[in-house]
């Protein structure tokens, strides 16, 4: 007995993704503006790494933690606005103490005070104390790192493809980052060094997807010199669609496992990745990165068939594709090798 294999995307899809750009571009523009407005209005929930201060993860040794009692203990210490938050199990509490005035040593004193005030019924499982100087540096490093990643990838793409592709990929990716930052601002997920790691990884993965589609577009450009560019882009996206969906399915499975079973410490990280890679990344490579090539003038130098006269039919192209390499058998590898 043969169990039929799972086909998420049927063969030979012919979605007109390029026409959809008239909807997707305005939507993306509006969402990006919304994200920027959100960012400037709500800001990000910056973690201890970037604003300094103290973070304690504590666990009550007997029974659920008494948040109210802890809150009153904390407020009697006069350390500014101390935040308490249930963290996973009801015995676990996260305590955030804001940056104390008085420089580096003052942070340690505050942490020591809190430890002493908590008493013996409470186990301090994690302490993070970041002084004002280090937090400023970490934020600067984070931003520099993000810019470095964007630049390095741009340069790589520029070498590997024509500049239109590099630029298209970068626009798509900055769009990804902007939307993800908007998401972080909306949900107020804590943004710390892991958040920067998530953003840079999103950049890498989302580009990975874009590069796969671009690779195909480049291949098609070389093979079909007369196909109208919109059709060519459509064929490219359609023929890589199945791969895009399956790959994102596996990445999603991995991320979901991390999100639900990996513990609280990596929640913020995986949530950011889920949004950036799965939701935005896929959408971007199909609906933004590919269509934008039309505006950037990819394939302008080619002699396109007049769109009104010879409308491209995917079937004919495919038979042509099949017929051409089949006639010269040893040359099967040629289209791929000649690409480089």
């Amino acid at each position: 007995m043969r169990i039929p294999l799972l086909r998420i995307v049927p063969d030979d899809t012919k979605f007109d993704f390029m026409r959809f750009r008239r909807i997707s571009f305005p939507i993306s523009a509006i969402l990006s503006i919304l994200a920027i407005v959100l960012f400037f209005h709500n800001g990000l929930n910056l973690g201890v790494d970037f604003v300094g201060g103290t973070l304690l993860e504590v666990q009550s040794k007997q029974g659920p933690a008494d948040l109210a009692k802890m809150r009153s203990t904390m407020s009697s210490l006069e350390l500014g606005e101390v935040q308490l938050q249930q963290f996973g199990a009801d015995t676990d509490v996260l305590i955030r103490i804001p940056q104390q005035p008085g420089g580096e040593a003052a942070q340690q004193e505050a942490a020591a005070k809190v430890r002493a005030a908590l008493g013996y019924g409470i186990d301090v499982r994690r302490t993070e104390v970041v002084g004002p100087r280090v937090s400023t540096e970490l934020l600067a490093y984070g931003i520099i790192g993000l810019l470095m990643a964007v630049c390095a990838i741009f340069v790589y793409l520029w070498f590997r493809f024509e500049w239109q592709f590099a630029l298209g990929a970068m626009i798509a990716n900055v769009h990804d980052l902007v939307l993800t930052i908007g998401f972080l601002s909306l949900t107020q997920i804590e943004f710390d060094l892991n958040g920067i790691a998530a953003l840079i990884t999103i950049l890498g993965y989302s580009l990975n997807d874009t590069v796969v589609i671009y690779d195909r577009i480049r291949e098609m450009l070389r093979r079909y010199k007369r196909m109208p560019i919109a059709d060519l882009l459509n064929v490219s996206v359609n023929s890589t669609l199945s791969r895009s969906v399956i790959t994102h399915a596996t990445v999603t499975l991995a991320l979901l496992a991390l999100y639900f079973f990996g513990g609280h410490a990596i929640h913020a990280f995986t949530a950011t990745m889920l949004f950036g890679v799965v939701l935005v990344g896929t959408y971007t490579s199909i609906f933004i990165a590919a269509p934008i090539l039309i505006y950037l003038g990819v394939g302008l130098g080619r002699q396109e068939a007049d769109e009104g006269v010879a409308k491209f039919e995917p079937e004919t192209a495919k038979t042509k594709a099949a017929a051409k390499p089949a006639t010269t058998k040893p040359a099967t590898a040629k289209p791929a090798t000649s690409k480089r």
Partner: protein
């Protein structure tokens, strides 16, 4: 593409097996691995977030170093003026500059020349830089300005960090922890990482103390309560006792009888009469001689033992102490006596250190993270494996074997590098599982396309591999760039993520180019299929 020579095949299998085998030591307890030959002992190191421990970043107080350097220069200038009979002179300190106004009518040429001698070339003989330690300016009218140069200050801070690292090493080693790492970071910082510590508070106390010990005489000319009101004699200073002595004020002479440098040993112990915890110490010959002389001249007077500007105790000298050894008592607990002995043995830091970043994870939380990380890894991998099998059948199985070998290779390479595995690092491995199958998906989807385009099975597989591999390379390089940037900017856990992500990409590309191809090639050779079952 489908033909792979016998030698190549052997090479691929051998490489894979060797790399996978490198992961083996991780699955045995440390005690077993210790008995193996050295080359076989390389294993993955768990990060502080997984095994528990403290990460403490210290900064040398650059201002204190600067101040000390300028004070030394001021003293030097005074000495030069005195030795060359240029006084009466006026020496003042302004910022980094010492300004000296010498006696009117004195030989200013000679003064300039003598003051110039205070400036030394920097960098020693080996690397003469042409820079000097002090800028000397003749401002005319018998006024000279001597400025400590920036390179000289940086050099001094550098030295202070080097000395501090040695002293910290001694202190931390006394705690008896396993494999602490202490390293310089940047110009003026020291990173201390101590795994598996029960009580970071004690570590921090040991790190934060300068431990500058001095023995000085108590100034009896002014009662302490008068000094508190502001009448401190010029050659003395007002210091306070420790908290356990109710912060009692003392007037202490500035002149040091013996300092901590002259100690050769310090041990915790108990007083024979009161059985209180004490610290007993021994001076070197020089210290013993000076201490003997001071105690002989001052029988009946109290002297003070001062640690970091805090009076530990101020006993009265009952008889001259000539043996060069003595004991400090001062309301110690057993542990504080022990810690003081550690500090005294290790010596004083050249400048105060401030903790500017601390990250401590308890061992319990670390174990929790390991358990959850491993659970998430299994569930994630299983889900991906089932999905791939459902989608591609036999070829899915090939992909799954490749992914499992992929993970084994990541662990192998991490072991080879003695790399540190952190919780985000585990995330990186799980993500690699999700993304590694992408290379198989790219190949298989391409094969599907070629089949649909009307090729024969063999042709389609061949073309699918050929065309997909270029794409695999292209698409993975972007992610690799991201990982490289993360490695460059990240520290600790984030760097751990970058490492596993980067290694995961390398192994993914390797397995796609070799193992998957090998498996499919062997299958084609043995079954000679006419259709592709995907």
């Amino acid at each position: 593409m489908l033909y792979i020579s016998r030698w190549k095949m052997l090479a691929i299998i051998a490489t894979t097996l060797i790399i996978c085998a490198c992961a083996i030591p991780n699955f045995f307890p440390q005690s077993v691995v210790d008995s193996w030959p050295k080359w076989a002992q390389r294993h993955i190191v768990l990060g502080l977030d997984l095994q528990g421990g403290s990460h403490i970043l210290l900064e040398v107080d650059a201002n204190a170093v600067r101040q000390e350097k300028i004070n030394a220069l001021r003293d030097d200038v005074r000495r030069v003026i005195r030795d060359n009979k240029l006084s009466p002179a006026n020496v003042t300190v302004k910022g980094n500059t010492v300004e000296a106004r010498i006696r009117e009518g004195a030989d200013s040429k000679l003064a300039f020349q003598k003051l110039q001698e205070l400036s030394q070339p920097l960098g020693g003989l080996m690397q003469a830089t042409g820079q000097r330690s002090v800028d000397v300016v003749d401002a005319g009218n018998g006024v000279f300005r001597l400025t400590v140069t920036e390179p000289a200050l940086t050099e001094r801070i550098r030295q202070a960090v080097d000395q501090s690292i040695q002293i910290i090493e001694k202190r931390v080693n006394e705690l008896g922890t396993v494999e602490p790492t202490i390293q310089r970071q940047g110009v003026d910082r020291i990173l201390v990482q101590v795994p598996g510590l029960q009580d970071p508070q004690r570590l921090k106390e040991l790190l934060g103390k300068t431990a500058k010990l001095t023995f000085r005489m108590v100034d009896m000319s002014t009662p302490a309560d008068q000094a508190v009101q502001g009448r401190v004699p010029p050659d003395s200073e007002l210091l306070y006792g420790s908290a356990s002595e109710n912060k009692q004020p003392y007037v202490i002479e500035k002149q040091v009888v013996v300092a901590g440098e002259d100690l050769v040993d310090a041990q915790p112990g108990f007083d024979q009469r009161t059985s209180e915890p004490i610290v007993s110490f021994r001076f070197n010959a020089n210290g013993a001689r000076r201490f003997a002389q001071a105690t002989q001249e001052n029988v009946g007077r109290p002297f003070a033992i001062v640690l970091d500007n805090e009076v530990i105790s101020a006993p009265v000298i009952r008889e001259p102490i000539i043996g060069g050894s003595g004991q400090i008592s001062g309301n110690f607990s057993v542990q504080s006596a022990n810690d003081l002995a550690i500090l005294l043995r290790a010596g004083a830091l050249p400048a105060p250190l401030t903790i500017i970043e601390e990250r401590t994870v308890g061992a319990g939380l670390g174990q929790d993270s390991i358990d959850k990380g491993i659970r998430a890894s299994w569930i994630g991998s299983l889900a991906v494996i089932i999905f791939m099998f459902a989608t591609y059948g036999l070829f899915g199985l090939f992909a799954n074997i490749a992914v499992m070998i992929n993970v084994a290779m990541i662990l192998g390479i991490l072991s080879l590098l003695n790399a540190t595995l952190t919780l985000p690092g585990i995330c990186g491995i799980v993500l690699t599982v999700g993304i590694a199958v992408d290379s198989n998906v790219l190949i298989y989807e391409r094969i599907r396309e070629e089949v649909r385009a009307g090729r024969s099975a063999l042709n389609a597989i061949d073309a699918g591999f050929t065309r997909a591999l270029a794409t695999i390379l292209d698409s993975n390089i972007t992610t690799f760039i991201a990982a490289a940037v993360l490695f460059y900017i990240g520290t600790g856990p984030v760097r751990g993520f970058a490492v596993t992500l980067g290694i995961g990409i390398l192994t993914t590309v390797f397995t796609a180019f070799t193992l998957t191809r090998l498996m499919v090639a062997l299958w084609v050779r043995w079954w000679r299929p006419r259709t592709v079952p995907i």
